[in-house]
């Protein structure tokens, strides 16, 4: 076909192509790969034993435990809500549906610092609900509940946002058939819907967890920075970095980088499973 047409190119000259690929690869290596590599080399500057010793510091262990605790509480809460939201949004049409989707995604466009600030405004020392808290002796800000609330805020959209397009593209035919054949709502959800969306759900949970474990700005505002008590892993990195304990800071950073790498590998595998081409984390 093409041989009949006048020969003008529809792709770039091979030299330009090679040049563009080279520039892209160098850009990705310098901007994205080097920061990752530097984390591991800085942590390992004095060898593996130093890293292990740094990670066994009581404050660091407490930070790891706290990060896990916050993630274990926040992720399931947002998973259940995201599943409920995806069901009503993808399976029913109702006025305000578009607005609801926009509101669910709203936390993504709010600065992490503001995501923490809103909780201090409600529950902090000068907060609107502080008289109530003082009366009952409950602490929210500068304590674990505040860390959880801030984390729930920033990870709110992940699960719903992954499930809604997936469930919309799958359609409701199979579920309607199950209902028509006499299955109950729960039976339909667990036997028909869940098997269909399981990889997408896992994908959303994975991203939600990565963000929950790695969140910095929002938890920095509500934490109060009490060593050994309200410091999550990212906050402990900041504290050690400011103490000039580079091995300590970069050891925790290496741990979180491993989690990020694991997340990226699992994400690639799940994308292959779901059959979606590319698509970012957000």
């Amino acid at each position: 076909m093409n041989t009949v047409l006048p020969q003008r190119p529809t792709t770039e000259h091979w030299l330009i192509r090679a040049g563009l690929i080279a520039v892209t690869v160098v850009l990705l290596i310098v901007l994205l790969l080097l920061p990752l590599l530097v984390v591991f080399t800085e942590a390992l500057r004095r060898g593996v034993p130093a890293v292990l010793a740094a990670l066994e510091q009581p404050e660091t262990l407490a930070a790891v435990r706290l990060s896990l605790l916050v993630a274990v509480i926040s992720v399931p809460l947002n998973t259940v809500c995201g599943m409920a939201g995806a069901w009503c949004i993808s399976r029913f049409r109702f006025p305000g549906r578009g607005l609801l989707v926009t509101l669910i995604e709203l936390p993504f466009s709010v600065s992490p610092v503001i995501s923490g600030l809103v909780w201090v405004l409600l529950f902090g020392a000068n907060g609107w609900l502080s008289p109530l808290l003082n009366a009952t002796g409950t602490r929210i800000v500068f304590a674990v509940p505040g860390l959880v609330l801030a984390t729930v805020f920033v990870t709110f959209p992940f699960v719903a946002r992954t499930l809604i397009p997936l469930m919309q593209s799958q359609g409701a035919a199979e579920e309607e058939a199950a209902i028509t054949l006499g299955a109950s709502g729960w039976q339909t959800y667990f036997r028909v819907t869940l098997p269909n969306i399981r990889w997408g759900l896992l994908y959303g949970v994975l991203l939600c967890n990565a963000r929950a474990m790695g969140e910095f700005g929002a938890v920095a505002v509500v934490s109060g920075h009490i060593r050994g008590q309200t410091m999550t892993m990212p906050l402990q990195i900041e504290a050690l970095f400011n103490d000039y304990d580079w091995i300590g800071a970069f050891s925790i950073a290496a741990l979180l980088s491993l989690l990020a790498l694991l997340t990226l590998v699992a994400k690639a595998a799940l994308e292959w499973r779901i059959g979606r081409a590319g698509g970012g984390l957000l």
Binding site: R8, T10, R17, I21, V23, T24, L27, L28, L31, L32, L33, L34, P35, V38, V39, A84, G85, C88, R91, F92, R93, F94, P95, L100, V110, S111, P112, V113, I114, L117, L121, L122, W128, F153, F156, A160, A172, T180, G185, Q187, Y189, G214, F216, G217, A220, V221, M233, P234, A249, A253, L256, A260, L261, L264, K267, A268, G278, G279, L281, L282
Partner: protein, 287 residues
């Protein structure tokens, strides 16, 4: 609750819900609205109401403080510059990833998401270590007189780092869907590859380029973790707006912190709305 049969869905539920044979509309919508209100809407409403405890004059004074204005200028200006740098970089990466095949392409694709997966505090200390004067890159740049760490240039770098995936991931699907026959037609009509790119490809990508710019800008303005380690944080020089919010909170100036946060949110949303309108206009003109 979700197990209720279709027969139990009352007419009041909603005309559209009645049309569906599936149960569970009311409870799932109820859960979603309750959780959304408790976690997102009520807290954000409290943010919108809080500054006014200062009175109108107090809010004005609080947000026109020279230190606040410098922080806002720095945050929005640097984020806009970073997004502007990310547009050509992101276009290059998206084009190469979609159109070309080369060894290591899969690895490169995974690497693009790295800034989204890497916790911001980790990115912050890693960039600082790289660009400090004894770091791998800093030791090359500092002798040339280019200081990145602890200067506004460091803020720009961190914002480029966190913003790049937004531009790439916005552009990729659009580059993938570019009708190749338009480029073939241009070539058949005698256009050079450069002409075809400028006259055919770029106009088709313009809305996506704007969308990517907007997403990268919004991310850069709000960014905190990856910036504060490398910024130096000098008031009036390298102090970003989110950091100033934190500082005001530490001084227990809640209303002042809320006022600054509100200004940041409103300006960000206004810019995004403007970019959306511009995109819609370009799309309408193209149609």
């Amino acid at each position: 609750m979700a197990a209720c049969s279709t027969a139990s869905i009352r007419p009041a539920d909603d005309a559209a819900a009645r049309r569906s044979a599936l149960p569970g509309f009311a409870p799932t919508l109820g859960i979603t609205l309750t959780w959304l209100s408790l976690i997102v809407l009520i807290p954000l409403a409290s943010l919108a109401l809080r500054p006014w405890t200062l009175g109108l004059d107090g809010v004005w004074q609080s947000v026109t403080d020279p230190r606040v204005l410098a922080a806002l200028r720095l945050s929005f200006g640097t984020a806009a510059l970073a997004a502007a740098v990310n547009v050509p970089l992101g276009l290059l990466v998206a084009w190469v990833m979609v159109r070309y095949r080369f060894p290591g392409r899969g690895l490169a694709d995974a690497l693009i998401d790295m800034p989204l997966a890497l916790p911001t505090a980790v990115a912050g200390i890693a960039l600082t270590a790289l660009f400090a004067k004894n770091g791998w890159i800093g030791s090359l740049l500092v002798p040339l007189g280019i200081k990145v760490a602890y200067t506004p240039l460091g803020i720009l770098l961190a914002m480029i780092f966190v913003g790049l995936p937004f531009v790439v991931r916005t552009l990729e699907p659009v580059v993938m869907d570019l009708p190749i026959d338009a480029e073939e037609a241009a070539a058949t009509l005698g256009a050079s590859r450069g002409q075809a790119f400028r006259r055919v490809v770029l106009p088709a990508l313009l809305p996506a380029l704007l969308a990517g710019f907007g997403a990268a800008l919004a991310r850069g303005v709000g960014e905190y973790g990856s910036v504060i380690f490398i910024a130096g944080n000098m008031p009036m020089v390298s102090e970003i707006a989110p950091l100033l919010i934190v500082i005001r909170l530490e001084q227990l100036d809640y209303a002042g912190a809320a006022a600054l946060a509100l200004v940041m949110l409103l300006v960000s949303f206004a810019i995004l709305l403007l970019l959306n309108a511009l995109q819609a206009r370009i799309a309408a003109n193209a149609a």
